[in-house]
Amino acid sequence: MDTATESPMIAVKNLTRRYGRVSALDGVTFEVGRGEIVGLLGPNGAGKTTTLRILSCYLPASGGEARIGGADVFEESMAVRRKVGYLPENVPLYTEMRVREYLKFRGALKGVRGRRLRSRVDTVIQQCDLAGEARTIIGRLSKGFRQRVGLADCLLHEPECLILDEPTIGLDPNQIRHIRELIRSLAPEHTILISTHILSEVEVICGRVLILDHGRIAASDTPEALVGLMQGDEHITAELQGPADEIAAALGALEGVRKPVCTPDGDWCRVVFRGNRQQQVRERVFDLACTRGWRLRELTAQRRNLEDVFAALTEGIDTAEPVQPGDCARPDASAGGEVSHA
């Protein structure tokens, strides 16, 4: 059996990195399987870039072990560098060179020679949609095109593993979509570890998510599974026509309803509360409105996403918590105050 194809592409065990007395990484352990796209999330200073720099052999670790394709990043640095295509944050490029010239230089440096070099340069130029800019001086390119040049550079030597540090930072929505599609198209042949702040991007591209916080892995799972962790309670908004105090009292007495906050709006009353999905709270609210003869014009549960999971894990904030009076802009004075039933 071929052990090289069986083992994970990236294996990190107890990785530690200290800058003086500050610990940037503290015993980080994770694995990335071959062909997987894994998103590395975390707030600023969580240790994402440090992790990627260690894996790309730019920085040493203070402790622990990291392997890419079975090669140790500390002991077999050259072998690892051949297996990895690394796109650093802010995509540093030689701005005085032309795109094709730069890619030829980088390809040659990565050991791609002769006809293969020409063919690879043509291929990555097509892949990254750079044909129209191949003769342009890099310094004159927009941020989006520079990002593509950086990505093309990563792909030149057909690495098994791509390490991308915030590849869509500073791009406009169209450029983000293009880069995202490109990354997705690379997945079957490459293992991709991508660091980003754009959570929606991770939900779309990545098969698995690693959330780093204060140098530790706070969570590791598929985006769906992580979102599923937070599905016990939902954040429900209802708009009912009736007296605010009666509505608040009735909702507060309903089983499964927690922290209702009523904001009167003329004849109507907007109620925001937390409800347990298992207890079919929305159905109960609907039945209550029917019984009391209150007209109902909205009854919605907010869909939880990765952003909620991220906030909960890294800040301890539950974004499903109803907004309390004073947390945001005050309602119109003519509409009256809020009535809450905890």
């Binding site: 040493p60 640095s77 560098r81 690394y86 650093p88 540093p92 005085e96 980088r106 990565k110």
Partner: protein, 243 residues
């Protein structure tokens, strides 16, 4: 070796495609030629060889030239972040340091070369000068080559120690200028014997080489410093992977 050649080619194209290179060449040639002509005028009637005056004039401007060439070498790569893409490619630190060094050295020599024309132009225009001694010029070129090899290696090391080009320029200038002050310093301090002073005197080395005496001692001195500086530069670049 292949990586070295690829990097060297990029270094040379980056230097020679920049207008700064040609401005540097023009300024250096003008400054060295003007200094030479001024010294010749000042020394009219003396028995000093014009070849010696010429090579001293070029050497005076050497710290400025090497500083301008070396200040950007690694400092610029660090500032722009390209050092990260470079050092995460399968290229050894030795190849990177040697390619930067060789690129800087070639540019330095190409900048100095036109100045030698000033010597021949002066000889052709002045009836008082019989001609230029080819052997003296060869000896002068040899000492210029040795000093530039050594100073460029110092410049490469200094450039590696900072990401700020201004800091690199100041440190580089003083590191290269210091050897020019060795002789006056040793003379001022009565601890050193005359023989020791002469062994480290740049002025004495120039006189020796221009007079046709190709001494091994200065060659060994400058080449030893060069090797030490380049070895240190490789270690400094590697230190990123241990610290």
């Amino acid at each position: 070796m292949r990586s070295f050649l690829i990097l060297l080619r990029r270094e040379l194209s980056a230097v020679f495609l920049s207008p700064v290179a040609y401005v540097t060449m023009a300024l250096f040639t003008s400054a060295a030629s003007w200094t030479f002509l001024a010294t010749v005028k000042a020394q009219t009637g003396s028995t000093v060889y014009p070849e010696q005056l010429f090579f001293v004039s070029v050497l005076i401007w050497m710290p400025f030239l090497i500083t301008v060439i070396c200040m950007r070498l690694f400092a610029e790569e660090k500032r722009s972040g390209t050092i990260e893409t470079l050092m995460t490619t399968a290229v050894g630190e030795t190849a990177v340091v040697l390619a930067k060094y060789a690129g800087a050295l070639v540019f330095g020599w190409v900048t100095i070369a036109p100045s030698i024309g000033a010597l021949y132009i002066l000889a052709a225009m002045s009836p008082g000068i019989d001609g230029v001694d080819g052997y003296a010029v060869a000896g002068g070129c040899a000492i210029l080559a040795l000093v530039s090899i050594c100073c460029t290696a110092v410049g490469v090391l200094v450039s590696l120690l900072t990401r700020n080009q201004i800091v690199a320029a100041i440190c580089c200038f003083w590191a290269i200028f210091a050897p020019f002050m060795v002789q006056p310093f040793m003379r001022a301090v009565p601890l050193f014997r005359q023989a020791t002073i002469e062994r480290f005197s740049l002025e004495r080395h120039v006189t020796l080489f221009v007079s046709g005496t190709l001494s091994l001692q200065p060659a060994v001195l400058y080449l030893s410093i060069t090797v030490l500086m380049l070895f240190s530069a490789v270690r400094v670049l590697e230190s990123r992977r241990w610290l």
